[in-house]
Amino acid sequence: MVVIKVRDRSGTLRELKVERGTLLMEALRDGDFGVEGTCGGACSCGTCHVYIAPDWAARLAPAGEDEKAMVEAIGELAPLREGSRLSCQIRLDTAQDGLDLEIAPAIE
């Protein structure tokens, strides 16, 4: 199992325990954090935006071109941070145990 720390949109910190190999977006969606993940990982909807904690951001595999383009597009409608990522592009394994993140605001 992998344990991650998630700050939800109300500011509450919750610990989430998931199976190794789970997609972060699916863990958040199924854990009722308000993450929709509409496009299923195609980087075309922007509904799974999260802020990865600064000390973790560099430890994850870097974002690909499609993810970067989508994050840039989200930036027109929501605040971006250094750790802005699409959670559908992050898979959770033992190396991500303890990952710390915050759910970004929904696009209105």
Binding site: C39, A42, C43, S44, C45, G46, D66, A69, M70, E72, A73, I74, E76, L77, I107, E108
Partner: protein
């Protein structure tokens, strides 16, 4: 007497009628006058269905039918909006280049939508009063342009409204091969002799001189052929534009033109007779045009990749080598379901 050569005797059991993909090139879609501004319809061409539409400003588009969003068939319930094709399902709109131009409810436009076309469309040209589409199995842009044909493009000097359309149950290569198969002109068509033929090849263009100037033909890729027949100093022109409907079905279409001779003149009479002769039987001609004799062969033959040719046959193999350039491999990972 040797033992039977089974490779020779049994080969036809493994032969196919049309063992070819759809060739790449410019192909006729429809007559310009048949597609009005704002009109949309489904057409069967290149072994699949397409949505053909004309924007309200006059531009023509031809797209894959299935919306890249959730797969609705845009030729059933879709609409032309301005210059765009609009899907009936969620009103996503596409331009003739395949770019999605509107998603009426998305707050964030997916980056791919801004970056590149997401709907397959074919490059379109309107020329000679005809709509042309560039078909390439790997969606590459046109590698050559449609030629100038004075007989059908010049504002004056030529006339002739005669057109024809015939269905052949075979592929374009098999139809076009008859152009270099001069021996069949004597035996199938009944020409008085086997005419000499000279063929020259230059990229997508093939030139044929049959009977030392009697027929001068130029093929521009697999989808356009201009053949000029000259008798008694009078030349008439057949512009032929065959469509690959499916791997084994072609629609042959032709326009016939000649100089604008005076009514009642001998020249006009000769020109009209040449046109009759191009198609079928004609007054005073012993040989028959393609309509009378070629279809029975085309519709029933098999393709022999290793034909048994003899001296006196035309340059069939050179023709096949030239035609091969139009067969483009579809990328392997995309081939399934094609």
């Amino acid at each position: 007497m040797g033992s039977p050569n089974l490779k020779v005797l049994l080969e036809s059991k493994t032969l196919e009628r049309c063992p070819f993909p759809i060739p790449a090139g410019w192909f006729f879609v429809d007559y310009s006058e048949n597609l009005k501004p704002g009109e949309l319809r489904n057409v069967q061409l290149f072994d699949q269905e397409w949505v053909l539409f004309r924007g309200e400003g006059g531009s023509v588009g031809m797209s894959d039918p299935y919306c890249p969003h959730l797969g609705a068939h845009m030729g059933h319930g879709g609409k032309v909006c301005g210059e765009h094709l609009r899907c009936p399902f969620h009103h996503w709109e596409y331009d003739a280049s395949g770019f999605c131009k509107s998603i009426p409810y998305a707050k964030i436009v997916p980056p791919i939508v801004k970056r590149e076309p997401i709907l397959r469309t074919l490059p379109i040209k309107e020329k000679y009063g005809l709509i042309w589409a560039w078909f390439h199995p790997a969606c590459e842009p046109p590698s050559w342009e449609l030629p100038y044909i004075p007989e059908i493009e010049d504002a004056s000097g030529y006339t002739g409204s005669r057109r024809g359309s015939w269905t052949a149950n075979t592929c374009i290569q098999e139809i076009a091969e008859n152009g270099v198969d001069t021996a069949h002109l004597k035996f199938l068509h009944g020409a008085p002799m086997i005419p000499p033929v000279e063929a020259t090849y230059d990229g997508p263009v093939m030139k044929l001189d049959i009977g030392r100037g009697y027929i001068l033909g130029t093929a521009y890729g697999p989808g356009l052929n201009v053949m000029r027949f000259t008798q008694q100093g009078v030349t008439a022109t057949m512009i032929s534009y065959t469509q690959p409907i499916s791997a084994e079905k072609s629609q042959m279409n032709m326009s016939f033109r000649h100089p604008d001779f005076a009514a009642g003149s001998t020249e006009l009479h000769i020109a009209k007779k040449i046109v009759d002769h191009m198609i079928g039987a004609a007054e005073g001609e012993e040989s028959a045009g393609f309509e009378s004799v070629d279809f029975i062969v085309w519709n029933n033959k098999k393709y022999r990749p290793n034909p048994l040719l003899c001296d006196g046959d035309g340059p069939v193999l050179q023709f096949r080598k030239w035609f091969k350039q139009f067969y483009v491999e579809t990328p392997a990972e995309l081939r399934q379901g094609q």
